[in-house]
């Protein structure tokens, strides 16, 4: 192998070299972009759950409340018994559980969406702590309320006012900005979990539809081993029955509906096509280049280059071109990925997870979590693409070199 010969060949045969490099770099760029997009959709699908510090949320559908008076459970979130929560807690792969109690409270002159939250649990709606815009977050052992900022503005609720929810009185200690919070597990009023449990336990209307005892909840927020999420989802359905709604990143991915989000198989197939196209382009261009150099190869052999010398030289040229193509493809992909990262994606929140009663204004509207698609090229993918380019170069140079090195110098060097 001679580096000088290789660099001169690539430099002086600019058209040939550029054609090979551009062809392969487009294939490599496609491969990187497709996989980065797919990865971005996967990461986006984690966002609605990540915002409440969970990997899985669980609730269970039940019967529609008979009367819309007092406190009721939404039909999409009825009782999950304490024993069921304990069983779920013991499942292998569950790292932690947060609980919540979502209530619709229909007081004579106002309807509240109430969420009872665990104040100190980092999994679940207690993450609202960072969304407090005025006043403070809930303190332990006190019956007090946080009110959603827009709701407070609409109904003229002020800080330190006392609100009455299901005949219980709560001082308003703070406001939260729900637009900055998660799209799931949101409410108008946030109470300590214990107070929400008391309201649920004392509601006859609620009890008649979905029997409830203190300690039961109707929302679970679960932190889990990433590799075990799919298996855990089906185990939880086994514990809670067919009416359980188990939301995972995978289920949000399906809701996204994009081809990239729909299946790994599509990304795999598209990547394979990109690789095959890249290989074919590299092979065809280099085959043409090498065929044009039959006479040159004949000279090399005549002056004493062995077949191995010829193959090594052609492989060096091919690997170098493909390496440059890989780097160029990576740069193209980085630029395109940067452009794509400005794209917005709307993740639909399933109606079961929407806390607003569908019969209230805006309650039937589809809710979306809108975010910028987090497109970026991971190091591992960049490394794989460069390595793949080098392998393509080695294989192409090796195969074509072996083929062309078989020519007989006497056949190509006969004087014209």
């Amino acid at each position: 192998m001679n580096l000088r010969y290789m660099t001169k060949e690539l430099y002086y045969q600019k058209r040939r070299t550029l054609m090979s490099i551009l062809g392969l770099s487009i294939g490599i760029a496609l491969l990187i972009i497709l996989n980065s997009l797919s990865l971005a959709y996967r990461q986006a699908a984690h966002v609605p759950l990540k915002e409440i510090g969970a990997d899985i949320t669980v609730q269970r559908s039940g019967d529609v409340p008979k009367e819309l008076t007092g406190a009721v459970f939404p039909c999409s979130a009825v009782t999950i018994r304490k024993e069921e929560v304990e069983k779920i807690q013991k499942l292998s792969g569950v790292k932690g559980i947060g609980t919540g109690l979502l209530l619709w409270v229909f007081d004579p002159n106002r309807a509240w969406i109430v969420l009872g939250i665990e104040k100190e649990n980092s999994i679940g709606p207690s993450l609202l702590r960072s969304s407090v815009t005025e006043g403070r977050f809930l303190k332990d052992g006190k019956p007090e309320a946080l009110v959603e900022q827009a709701y407070a503005r609409q109904f003229g609720i002020k800080l330190n006012d006392t609100i009455s929810v299901a005949d219980k009185r709560f001082p308003v200690v703070g406001f939260v900005d729900a637009s900055r919070a998660a799209k799931i597990a949101v409410a108008n009023v946030y109470l300590p979990l214990k107070d929400a449990e008391d309201i649920a336990a004392s509601s006859k209307g609620l009890q008649s539809v979905s029997p409830y005892v203190l300690g039961d909840v109707n929302l679970l927020f679960i932190k889990a081993d990433q590799e075990k999420i799919t298996g855990l989802a089906s185990e939880m359905k086994g514990i809670l029955g067919n009416k359980a709604t188990v939301a995972t990143p995978e289920s949000f991915l399906k809701l996204l509906g994009s081809l990239f989000a729909l299946s790994d198989k599509f990304t795999l197939a598209a990547s394979l096509i990109a690789i095959i196209v890249a290989v074919l382009i590299a092979f065809k261009t280099m085959a043409g280049n090498i065929a044009e150099r039959a006479r040159e190869i004949g000279v090399l052999k005549a002056v004493g280059w062995t077949n191995r010398n010829v193959v090594s030289q052609l492989m060096l040229e091919s690997v170098t071109q493909c390496f440059i193509a890989g780097v160029l493809g990576l740069l193209i992909a980085l630029v395109v990925s940067f452009g794509l990262s400005f794209m917005k994606v709307n993740i639909p929140i399933p109606w079961e997870m929407s806390p607003t009663p569908h019969f209230l204004p805006g309650g039937g509207d589809q809710i979306f979590k809108t975010l910028r698609l987090p497109v970026q090229v991971p190091w591992s993918l960049a490394f794989f693409a460069i390595l793949l380019s080098i392998i393509i170069g080695g294989m192409t140079g090796g195969l074509l070199g072996r083929h062309i090195s078989k020519i007989k110098p006497s056949e190509v060097l006969r004087h014209d």
Partner: protein, 222 residues
């Protein structure tokens, strides 16, 4: 083959299908001898030269070059043998267009484990001899026909060959440049003792040789 023979071919034949282009040719060339192979176009001169130089295998017969029987050797063995013993000069120069003059001269040395500086030094010595010391960095496209052929001659000499095979070395040159190239070949043979087997169809050029072998229809006629 005599003791002083550098090259001998015995009963050589070459067939392409039914066409026999070289028929039972036997010849020997002594070390330092300048031999011209003449004959009309298509009489089998180039094929015979290819067989004798190890570029092509005979259908029948035996070739001994510098004491080694080469007709049964593998492709790679032949390549290595050519690298160490043989130089080639072609009618159309066959320089690599992307390499400079000195790099073309050093081409047979590229697979050998030595530094580029050493290769360049050896190539420059030879180009100086060819009065091309000022053109070492030029690409073939910047050289005249005569200069290209002088670069090719330098390339043929770079590995200190025992014999040079020249196939119509003046065929692409005008008469005065052709004469200059013949002078160089004569000088090489005279001063350096390199054996030369030159193929030509020009009887005038053959006058410079020690011996002339004439071919007709694939056979040696005199």
């Amino acid at each position: 083959m005599t003791k002083s023979s550098i090259l001998s071919g015995t009963d050589l034949s070459k067939k392409y299908g039914d066409l026999e282009v070289v028929k039972n040719v036997s010849l020997a060339i002594d070390a330092g001898e300048f031999v011209c192979l003449v004959g009309k176009s298509g009489c089998g001169k180039t094929t015979l030269l290819s067989i004798l130089s190890g570029l092509e295998k005979p259908t029948k017969g035996q070739v001994i070059l510098n004491g080694k029987e080469i007709d049964g050797a593998s492709e790679d063995e032949l390549a290595l043998f050519r690298r160490e013993n043989v130089g080639f000069i072609f009618q159309s120069f066959n320089l690599i267009p992307t390499l400079s003059a000195w790099e073309n001269v050093a081409l047979p040395l590229f697979p050998i484990n030595m530094t580029n500086e050493e290769r360049r030094k050896r190539a420059k010595e030879l180009l100086d001899k060819m009065e091309l010391g000022h053109r070492i960095e030029h690409l073939p496209s910047a050289l005249s026909g005569g200069e290209k052929q002088r670069v090719a001659i330098a390339r043929a000499l770079v590995n200190h060959p025992k014999i040079i095979f020249a196939d119509e070395p003046t065929g692409n040159l005008d008469s005065s440049t052709g004469e200059a190239i013949m002078d160089i070949l004569n000088k090489l043979h005279r001063d350096e003792g390199v054996a030369i087997l030159m193929v030509t169809h020009e009887a005038e050029l053959a006058k410079a040789a020690n011996r002339v072998i004439r071919m007709k229809d694939g056979e040696v006629v005199s």
